[in-house]
Amino acid sequence: MFSSVYLDSPLGTESASLIVCNFACNLFASQQSEKGFLMDRRTFLKSVTAASIGAGLVPLARVLPASAASGKTAVIALGTTINSLDLHRKGTNRPSYQVAVNAYDRLVSFGTKTMPDGSLSYDSSAIEPDLAESWDVSEDGKTIVFHLRKDAVFSDGSPVTAEDVKWSLDRAVTLGGFPTTQMKAGLLGDPAQFEVIDDKTIKVTIPHESKLTIPDLAVPVPFIINSKVAKEHATTDDPWATEYLHRNTAGSGAYVVERWDPGQQLVYKRNDKWTSGPLPGVERVVMREIPSPSTRRALIEKGDVDMSFDMPSKDAKELKDAGKAEVVSTPVENCMFVVGCNLKFEPFQNVKVRQAVAYAIPYEDIFKTAAYSLGVPMWGGKNPAPDSIAWPQPFPYSTDLEKAKALLAEAGYADGFTVPFYISLDLVSWMEPAALLIQENLAKIGVKAPIEKIPGANWRTACLVEKRLEMHLEDFGGWLNYPDYYFYWAYLEGNLFNSSNYVNPEVQALVEETLHMPVDNPEYEPKIKRLIEIAFTDVPRIPLWQPALSSAMTKKVEGYEYWFHRQIDARTIGKA
């Protein structure tokens, strides 16, 4: 539904990795990898492997086929670890969601669009068939009947039935935790809402019409499991086969997990029975966990891996500039990095003080230093009121210290004040430079902002649950790409990502009206514009920039596509 960027990145050694990264980046920067006299690693591997197999010395099972380094296998370096093959399990971390994407199908999926820079992105406005070939929505919008594709089979060859769909959706709303919360966003919370009509037809009932229900069935959570296989491994204590599905996949997706060495690698093998899309261009995908960002960078520069997924901005920028690899940076939809001004802190209750802070921030410098100019600026908007419902869009603020001082004086804080400024130790890579630059400028208008660092494991509790951080940085992004959805989580009283304790009855009313309203309703646009205008004026959250998800790949890789869930979608990956 939403995510904190890097939330599940390997923790704790962040500062160490940073040092490592900074050092290595300098070390690896602008180096030529020409060395004609030495045998290329791949050639070497191939020759060794081929020779061994040819000589019949090595049983095949010990090594991947000789094609491992060829066009039939893609090797992708990840900085994060996969801790389960089952998204519904408690404690499954975000990087593991890719298994639900690659090894399972859903009822529906999103389309693909081409971005202005030529890269591919999912298209939140186009819902496309996945396992369901068509669906009928009733007049009142309260029932949706999905018709399953006749030829859809699981990787074991058995047909996908409505029974499997029901079992899987029941599981998603029953097991609790994040999946259940996510399902609720689409008004799905009770197994009684899913009704099997016949073998290939399933009816979904919702309490009232909502534009969120169908998109919510296209997120990774409601993936369809082979219930026959799962039930064979279910026990009375574990009716949903969580133990089995934690270690095995039983889906109809593009790949099956062939091998999983926790903490090291995950190997996908293509499922040739896949029917929900064109078969992937590679037979195997190896996800290799490489914790050190500088090692990942060296690997991709040398071409020993085909892709480094979700790179630090610094590496992405430098690789891009040096032209050593194809770097694709896609702005993360419905996401902004913001400065939160907590209204629990007295000076921030005055809107002028918040605006003063918004005018004091050195946006340009932060964007260059903390984001390496990757992403989209969220400052310098031309009009005080939005002229479109595009979201996120630049707020009408830019650095103007005189104006900031004047606003502070008007608010009665001409002499400034002191406010603690919190950042998360897990996210220091962007938070620290941003916070330091903001601190420096705030000092110029008389506001002292000592920076306090909070350990990653406590950050969420302090920032989002207790909402006690006076001034802080925050990185919420919504999975479902609607402005009202962002406002729902980040601007409504008591909601999780409203870390600023912002309360506004008008916003409350507007969000309630628009959250489930179809976007083509004529009332939708004016209401959203009003919401954005209020966000512009009140600035409980001051946007800095819209972050980007950057991945580097060799020139041979094709079909890389950005998805809102920010995990690798290996279904479209191919190698020339």
Binding site: I19, T49, V58, P262, R288, S294, A457, T461
Partner: protein, 341 residues
């Protein structure tokens, strides 16, 4: 002699039981005293109060501390260390896969380190003030002053990135080879046992750079200790007597001097070894080595109680074993070391 050694080993382990129990209690309390709520963390960013509570119940954290402790000890007795939430695996299997990785790396590094440090230390001690002595001093200074991640990255940069003679730092094996059937957990040895020379070589080549990195780091204390111990022994009375008695130089050096100098070296070795096992997190990160150090650090940061406790316990057992081994080594090297003491 043999009997008394068996007795020594047994008594050591019996003595270790209260220590281990203490370790269990202390880690149990310490992990829970850490700030941070694992239920909140593992429920994920979007979780509401209800799903956090569900996770708390699933983790057994809704019970009182004494009750959690009793359960934990009960599980321990049956060999169950619980499940790690961050890796999603039973802690026992995590440790079983990661400890050998660390051990293989550390032992290999120690062998390299010993092979260089001891001759270097002896040469430096026998020729004080010469170039060998200066070399020794240089190596020692460099070894302690270069941070391991720096050496690691520098080696990767030169041997992998620039020269291309070292394999990609991808962990224990590249993606072409699969892990050999587990016997010892040491990939090189297991592959050899499996008569799979190809995999053994692949594993060895992956092992080389991280091991050298660690070896450079551990060279320093061992070489320094060897040199100091040798200098001291060489100036002692019995060596002078041996020399006066006209024994050959090598006999004086190795049979009398070196054997006596070994005791402090062995002690240092034990300390270095146990320190390295848990402390080579940065080397593990740089080389994507799936070792126990990075496992523990990651578990600690997310308050993954079972994993942290499992790690500390495993390390404690290892320390006890190691110390016992060192004590036995003393008795072998120096008959004067009493078995009763």
């Amino acid at each position: 002699m043999f009997r008394s050694r068996v007795k020594l080993v047994l008594s050591r382990f019996v003595q270790a039981i209260p220590t281990l129990f203490g370790v269990i209690v202390v880690t149990f309390i310490l992990t829970r005293a850490l700030p941070g709520d694992p239920a909140v963390y593992f429920a994920g960013p979007a979780a509401d109060a209800k799903s956090i509570e569900q996770v708390r119940v699933a983790l057994g954290l809704d019970k009182s501390l004494p009750e959690q402790f009793v359960r934990y000890v009960g599980d321990l007795v049956t060999g169950d260390l619980g499940d790690s939430i961050s890796t999603g695996q039973p802690v026992v299997s995590d440790i079983a896969s990661r400890l050998p990785a660390s051990l293989e790396l550390t032992l290999f590094a120690l062998i390299i380190s010993l092979a260089i440090a001891i001759p270097l230390g002896i040469l430096a001690a026998t020729r004080p003030g010469t170039w060998v002595d200066h070399l020794c001093r240089l190596v020692v200074t460099a070894g302690v002053s270069l941070p391991v991640f720096f050496t690691g990255l520098a080696l990767v940069y030169v041997f992998y990135y620039q020269l291309g003679i070292s394999p990609a730092p991808l962990g224990r094996l590249d993606f072409v080879h699969f892990a050999p059937p587990a016997v010892t957990g040491f990939f090189v040895i297991d592959a050899l046992l499996d008569t799979d020379l190809d995999t053994a070589l692949a594993a060895l080549s992956q092992l080389l750079l991280p091991a050298i990195t660690l070896a450079l780091f551990t060279l320093a204390p061992i070489a320094r200790m060897t040199r100091a111990a040798m200098l001291q022994v060489l100036s002692s009375d019995f060596v002078r007597t041996a020399r006066a008695a006209g024994l050959t130089r090598s006999r004086v050096l190795f049979t009398y001097a070196f054997r006596n100098a070994l005791l402090p070296v062995i002690t240092t070795l034990g300390m270095v070894f146990s320190f390295m096992l848990g402390a080579n997190v940065l080397v593990e990160k740089v080389f994507a080595w799936p070792g126990i150090g990075s496992y523990a650090v990651e578990a600690l940061v997310v308050s993954d109680y079972a994993a942290v406790q499992g790690f500390v316990l495993a390390m404690a057992v290892l320390f006890v074993t190691l110390n016992t081994l060192i004590d036995i080594a003393y008795t072998v090297i120096d008959p004067r070391v009493g078995l009763d003491g």
